[in-house]
Symmetry: C2
Subunit: 326 residues, 2 copies
């Protein structure tokens, strides 16, 4: 039924859209018409001038109780993370963010000031990445969720998952494992060290790195959100190739090692199987010059109809004998 | 945390995206490259060729327990409605749908075959409107919700809410009130007559009507989703004008009158204040020739800093003396 039936959510939506309009007007005074916005938030739809480049479009949600739990994130962090996980998908396509939309589902008793902080953070995180938040939607619901749609311009060429070829080097940017370790510590009832917590609470979409991948001739790329091995599985299946990961190639630094030691587990569990870092993985032909900041962590194997991802040549299994988290 | 932690939802998402890829491949064999899809579903983001026209972008959610309740809609209807309410926003801008994305939040015990039926219906409803469903997201969550993002091309010019001018005729297309009456009957524990139920379950986005509005010189337009008077309030405030509605101008037909009579209420409550029909309302200068299918139902009043919407010159209040629903 229409939200007009006297709910706070509907009044809240208009307040939210008004706020968004004000922000955009202020931002537009600085940015001029560079953002391509013909009709801003608050109408039936936003209208934008797309420009000549192909557009990358993605949508991803953060759901309370599934992707985060109450108490893990401050409202600002939740909003920024909801934007970042989407921008990371654009980065993995080699695209530059242009516009975002945020559809929030919010419990009726949710603090309106916390909601303002979340939505302001969504707008700020969009702006910091060069994008304008052009619309949104606010609905009541039992559990808090933020569904973001992000649109970006593909500057060079789109980086797909299916381009990996036998012999390619496998590279990653950004260290891995910190966010997943933070989640495990939280789930265990602890409070993660700030350096790990930050990686979950404030992931950085690797936008410049994504564009650099495209410019340098990467053959395939993916956002590492489900865990490196799982995400490489997508690349392997899309490309029809095996992929082998070198477990000794990863930088595993404090406090990840200390936390692993304290919990009696191996840091590699988080590096290889943990998600949420939003690093980028890509493959390059041998003769390409790697862009700065990428580390070679493996190699693409043979073409195959039944692709597998291995670690040092074998299927990876955690030495789970005395692993605290299993 | 990453959905990779062994949940059905993540496996379901890949199955869903695979299904979507198959559908699009089949559809593309028919449509050729007319849809402008460079990279289809299943990568980090879809990539599309935007073309030269401005793009209208909107997002709207259907949340179980808020916008519908269990038992009201079949899975096919839910999917089609989620798309239609978004396409109606595009229609109100004068835009033609090109691409949709669907982010579903689904309880862990939700029937996977019902989910398939929902998502298939989203794809079918998109295709029937000339759009391709290029992506999606699937997350676990306590309550079912569907958040759709729709992108359309503005063919003629964008219809905004702010263009209404004193003396304009107010027009609507589509009869009003049926969907809201169906909802009230459901909320009362009854089963609405099929003709009313259908208007809620299968709303028709007035896409051709929206383009006709733009071509015929409409000054302002809006999707009637919150109820005509509430939505006209948006037009009035955005345009800085009063609007007066003629209560005798509306076609009020069976079974709306019969249901109103049975419940001891007035059909106008649903026509003027009920939402969910997704008709279009617009304003036209006096000398414009109205496109077919639009009915004049009022007039734009004076420019004002404190806009109000009136019915026959007075603020509208339901004669609630013996109204069953109040």
């Amino acid at each position: 039924m229409a939200e007009s039936r006297g709910t706070l959510a509907r009044r809240g939506e208009h307040a939210f859209l008004d706020r968004l309009c004000d922000r955009l007007r202020a931002a537009d005074r600085e940015a001029g018409s560079a953002r391509g916005i013909v009709v801003g938030p608050g109408d039936d739809a936003a209208v934008v001038e797309p420009g000549r480049r192909p557009l990358a479009v993605t949508t991803d949600a953060l759901v309370e109780g599934v992707h985060f739990r109450p108490g893990w994130l401050r409202p600002e962090e939740l909003g920024a993370r909801a934007i970042a996980v989407n921008l990371s998908d654009l980065a993995a396509m080699g695209a530059s963010p242009r516009w975002t939309l945020v559809a929030a589902i919010v419990p009726p008793d949710f603090s309106t000031s916390d909601l303002d902080r979340i939505l302001d953070a969504c707008a700020t995180a969009s702006e910091e990445a060069g994008a304008a938040m052009i619309g949104g939607n606010l609905s009541r619901g039992d559990a808090l969720s933020l569904t973001v749609t992000a649109v970006g311009a593909v500057e060079e060429r789109a980086l797909e998952r299916r381009g990996a070829r036998p012999g390619d080097r496998l590279v990653v940017t950004g260290t891995l494992g910190a966010a997943a370790a933070a989640v495990d510590v939280w789930l265990d009832g602890g409070e993660p060290p700030p350096a790990l917590r930050e990686r979950f609470a404030r992931p950085v979409a690797r936008l410049a790195a994504g564009r650099a991948l495209a410019a340098a001739g990467a053959r395939a790329a993916i956002d590492v959100s489900d865990g490196l091995l799982a995400d490489l599985g997508h690349v392997a299946r899309a490309s029809g190739v095996d992929i082998d990961v070198d477990p000794d190639a990863f930088e595993v630094a404090e406090p990840l090692t200390a936390v692993a030691s304290a919990y009696g587990t191996q840091p590699l569990r988080w590096v290889l199987a943990g998600g949420d870092d939003h690093a980028l993985a890509a493959t390059f032909p041998d003769d390409a010059v790697l862009p700065e900041g990428f580390v070679v962590v493996g190699r693409v194997g043979a073409a195959t109809e039944d692709p597998v991802v291995t670690v040092a040549g074998a299927p990876w299994t955690l030495d789970a004998g005395h692993d605290h988290f299993r």
